[in-house]
């Protein structure tokens, strides 16, 4: 018994480290004078770095179940967690000057952010419905609080309220679906559920009933159409640093949830949820791409762009093959990096009393700061899926997976909508390169932010030229 506990604790070392470190940061921050709050920030980055070390070094390459099957460490968990740490680290880095300029540079932002990361880690490593739900709620509650964090801002409060109500609704749906599944199968364990459902008698109408609610819950969390209403409002209303947080790393965790639920536990019902996803993705691609064209506010435009990307991600999952899961995983990681870069760019262009709100605020960026303009160009082309950027391979992989299972016509539909989508990304490039600047104030982001943004932007190109490594990792993570 003793040794099992130790084994369990050893497996969950990254989470334990994160929990301990967050609590420490919380207390530590109380005793740090405001002028030296940078210490908190560095501590946060060190926490993430430590978690990365524990996650990668602590993994022996195999698959370990712990805590009576509620928790799992496998290739997928390690890969996705590592990606989450990296993206979250970049998010905190981009946010720091923005928060300082607005008097929001307080420990709570980082503590909540780290609690969110902990929630994501638990989601990624969940092996039962309960632990999955716990992780999800930990993440969601942190996010609600972060959106409301700028308490003097009316749009932020409104966004937080909307997010909270709709998020709670979604959690309720998900929980209801899980409980129905529990009622039919009699277990919360992911592997047991999968086993039961793979038996003929397991596929009852009740199981399908539960499945529908689970899919709705997932769609809500991703913001897939028709459950997307909260996305633009929350993205636009939240302080940009929080939008950056919400828009990037949690997508990876949401993908992990999707995998654990749909692929691992409801895998035997692939044909059933595949149809549901097909409807969601067809709608998401259309609504996301077409409505984004009408947007003038940059954050709303990126929000609709997120919705369309969710459609693509679902497309890979819908294929229901290992190849498709790997493609979707690749897409999720790449998307998180692209979103971090694009929202991060808004923070880099901000200064005290000013932040870019409309797409025209990018006018003439090539004259004001050619390097940032070039990086944004890479990010935009990557989002549009134009080679040689990595966004192209992300789309290529999901479309290939779908074509391989015979979904040629949805693939045609998807590429047509990606052409429609290209328009609004190109419009950003148009403003940056073809128009003269109206604003003369120099863009002067800090050196650290410039360097990380450089890495972030050039990674789009580097991964675009050599996507093989990441793709191989994704394939291994799904056990291909």
């Amino acid at each position: 018994m003793q040794s099992t506990l130790w084994n369990d604790l050893a497996a969950a070392l990254p989470e334990l480290w994160m929990l301990g470190a967050v609590c420490f940061v919380l207390v530590f921050d109380l005793f740090v004078p405001a002028a030296r709050r940078d210490l908190t920030y560095w501590l946060v980055q060190a926490t993430l770095a430590g978690a990365l070390v524990f996650t990668v070094a602590g993994h022996d390459g195999g698959r370990t179940l712990a805590f009576g099957g509620h928790y799992v460490v496998d290739e997928m968990a390690v890969l996705l967690k590592s990606a989450i740490y990296l993206v979250a680290g970049a998010v905190f880095l981009y946010s720091r000057p923005y928060l300082k300029d607005r008097g929001l540079f307080r420990g709570e932002y980082f503590v909540l952010g780290l609690f969110g990361v902990l929630g994501m880690m638990i989601m990624v490593s969940a092996h039962s419905f309960v632990s999955l739900y716990l992780g999800l709620e930990l993440l969601a509650l942190s996010q609600y609080a972060m959106v409301a964090f700028f308490r003097d801002s009316l749009p932020a409060s409104e966004a937080a309220m909307k997010y909270f109500v709709l998020g709670a609704l979604a959690s309720g749906m998900l929980l209801y679906g899980m409980s129905v599944l529990y009622g039919t199968v009699g277990s919360l364990d992911i592997a047991t559920v999968a086993n039961a459902l793979s038996q003929e008698e397991g596929r009852s109408a009740f199981a399908l009933f539960g499945l529908v609610f689970v899919v709705v819950g997932i769609a809500f969390k991703f913001g897939a159409v028709p459950f997307h209403m909260w996305v633009p409002d929350v993205y636009d209303g939240a302080p940009t640093s929080v939008t950056l947080y919400i828009g990037s790393a949690p997508k990876i965790a949401a993908f992990a949830m999707l995998m654990r639920l749909l692929s691992e536990s409801l895998g035997p019902l692939t044909g059933d949820w595949g149809q549901l996803l097909a409807v969601l993705l067809v709608l998401s691609m259309a609504v996301g791409n077409i409505i984004a064209i009408a947007q003038r506010r940059i954050k709303r435009m990126l929000a609709y762009s997120t919705i369309s990307h969710v459609g693509f991600l679902f497309f890979g999952v819908m294929a229901g093959t290992q190849e498709g899961y790997a493609a979707a995983m690749f897409y999720a990681i790449v998307y998180a990096a692209m979103a971090a870069g694009a929202f991060g760019m808004l923070l880099l262009m901000s200064r005290q009393g000013y932040e870019p709100e409309h797409i025209d605020d990018f006018k003439g960026l090539n004259e004001r700061h050619p390097w940032l303009a070039f990086l944004m160009l890479l990010l935009m082309f990557s989002m549009a899926g134009i080679p040689p950027t990595v966004g192209f391979y992300a789309k290529l992989a999901v479309i290939q997976a779908a074509v391989n299972v015979g979904e040629v016509w949805i693939a045609v539909y998807a590429v047509v909508l990606s052409v429609i989508g290209a328009f609004y990304y190109l419009r950003v490039v148009k403003y940056m390169y073809f128009d003269k600047p109206e604003e003369s104030h120099p863009v002067q982001p800090g050196m650290d932010a410039q360097v990380i943004m450089g890495i972030n932007g050039l990674a789009m190109l580097a991964l675009g030229v050599f996507p093989g490594g990441l793709m191989a990792l994704c394939l291994r993570a799904v056990g291909y």
């Binding site: 479309i399 073809f434 394939l475």
Partner: protein, 501 residues
């Protein structure tokens, strides 16, 4: 020299050189580096011509490295008689474009030069790629520099023109992507050469053919999807127009030869009527449209569409001949004619756009009505302009004659009426070209601006002179070019006559 990875160098030297130019920043240095890189690339492409083994249709200078293992995508390069001349055309034209932009471009000159060099690398990649994904990557990546070239350095309606250009071409090519992926799911390989051997049913072939048609017909461009071209040409800076007309349009024709014909021969045969119809409409109708243009660049743009109609006609005549006679006599003539037409049109349209650029730099107008009697003040320029205009109308002795003549001859094997309609170009081409010359070059000096014109400077003389030599050389002695492409064309004809069903 033979052991060098020549094709890789031709792709990566300009790209890396372009990045160096970007790093050098706006200054006199940037232009010099750009010219150096362009010339070095041209020199590197010469061994491609001298070391090319004539008499075989095999891929040469091949390079093969695994690239993306997870996707089974390889870095596979090689050229045959069809792609090699086009690479030479690319390296040659880029040097001229860099020289032509020397003084004219004042705004962000480093970015301008870098964009052209990177574009050159991508275009070489398109012609050299033997892996479908690699091809597609270059094919799409090419759009990015061109999008910026038109958008940043273009005319007043540049934003509209460049977005139209980008979205049109992007829209066409995504269907090709799906069909490439579909063929991967059937064959398990992304090699273009494997695709050519892949057996496909007729319905599959027709759908794939239409997907390719979407990509390449827009690129060529064929009527009725040509409308982006006049806009793009008019708004693009001179260098952009030159590259667009001289090389990018050729990628469409090249695509037909490399993809459509060998991969879907039965569908090509089935739908030949469509291509022949579209080509003839381009030749005849667009010829008339060119006649009424008021804007010089637009006139040349429409003339490009008409001339590219000859290329597509020549390429697809083989099926019309097969259906009419049951044999392939005359088919090689048509296909070779189409190829020669592509190279020749690269020289002529490039030269004409450069001529318009010369006038535009001085008068800042592209309206035909703004000129008249230019010969009085610019005699040297006028001689060049007349030469290129005559070549454009297909005067024997110039390169324009060779391709058109071969295609018309070949068309006679298929059907008299096709040949007759195609031959109207000799009248229409002469009409719009010579009328342009009459209005712009001859007559009395029209206004003070024309009276104040300075004749060509040394830089412009070199550029136009080089093109004039090329036009005459290809016109008087096309033999070497035909020798190079002959075996590849013959092999292609043999390949497409065997049904895949």
């Amino acid at each position: 020299m033979v052991d060098w990875p020549l094709l890789s160098l031709l792709i990566w030297v300009p790209i890396v050189g372009g990045l160096c130019v970007l790093a050098a920043g706006d200054g006199p240095g940037a232009k010099r580096i750009a010219l150096g890189v362009a010339v070095a690339t041209l020199l590197l492409s010469i061994p491609l011509w001298t070391g090319f083994e004539r008499g075989t249709a095999e891929m040469q200078f091949t390079e093969f490295h695994p690239w993306i293992g997870a996707f089974n995508v390889n870095y596979h390069l090689g050229v045959d008689g069809i792609s090699m001349p086009l690479i030479l055309l690319t390296t040659f034209t880029t040097v001229l474009v860099v020289i032509a932009g020397w003084e004219v471009i004042q705004y962000r000159v480093a970015q301008y030069m870098a964009a052209f060099l990177i574009l050159e690398g991508f275009m070489n990649g398109v012609f050299a790629a033997l892996d479908a994904v690699l091809f597609y990557v270059f094919f799409e990546a090419m759009l990015i520099p061109m999008f910026l070239i038109i958008g940043v350095w273009g005319g007043p309606r540049r934003v509209y023109a460049t977005l139209k250009f980008f979205l049109y071409t992007f829209f066409g090519s995504v269907f090709m992507l799906v069909s490439l992926l579909y063929m991967y799911s059937q064959s398990g390989s992304f090699s273009i050469l494997d695709y050519q051997e892949l057996r496909l049913g007729l319905t599959e072939q027709i759908l794939i053919f239409l997907a390719f048609l979407g990509a390449f017909a827009i690129k060529v461009p064929m009527w009725p999807v040509h409308t982006w071209l006049p806009d793009a040409h008019v708004e693009a800076p001179t260098g952009g127009s030159v590259i667009l007309a001289a090389i990018m349009l050729k990628i469409g024709g090249y695509g037909f030869l490399r993809f459509s014909l060998p991969i879907t021969p039965d569908a090509s045969a089935e739908l030949t009527w469509l291509i022949v119809l579209m080509s003839l409409v381009a030749v005849v109708y667009i010829g008339f449209v060119a006649l009424v243009q008021q804007d010089m660049k637009k006139l040349i743009a429409y003339s490009s569409i008409a001339h590219m109609g000859f290329t597509t006609l020549g390429v697809f005549l083989i099926f019309a001949i097969l259906q009419a006679t049951g044999g392939t006599v005359g088919a090689a003539l048509g296909m070779q004619g189409g190829m020669v037409q592509m190279v020749s049109h690269g020289f002529i349209s490039g030269a004409l756009f450069l001529c318009v650029g010369v006038l535009y730099d001085r008068v800042h107008s592209r309206e035909i009505a703004a000129y008249g009697g230019v010969v009085n003040t610019m005699p040297v320029f006028a001689s060049f302009f007349v030469l290129f205009a005559l070549a454009n109308s297909g005067l024997p002795g110039t390169s324009g004659f060779v391709g058109e003549f071969m295609v018309i001859l070949s068309a006679l094997h298929a059907d008299f009426w096709i040949a007759l309609l195609a031959a109207t170009t000799l009248i229409l081409g002469a009409a719009y070209s010579l009328w342009l010359v009459k209005r712009v070059i001859f007559g009395k000096v029209a206004n003070e601006q024309v009276a104040a014109l300075q004749d060509l400077n040394a830089r412009e003389f070199v550029v136009l002179g080089a093109l004039a030599v090329a036009v005459l050389a290809l016109g008087l002695y096309p033999g070497p070019l035909l020798d190079v492409m002959g075996p590849s064309i013959d092999q292609l004809i043999q390949h497409v006559t065997v049904s895949k069903l």
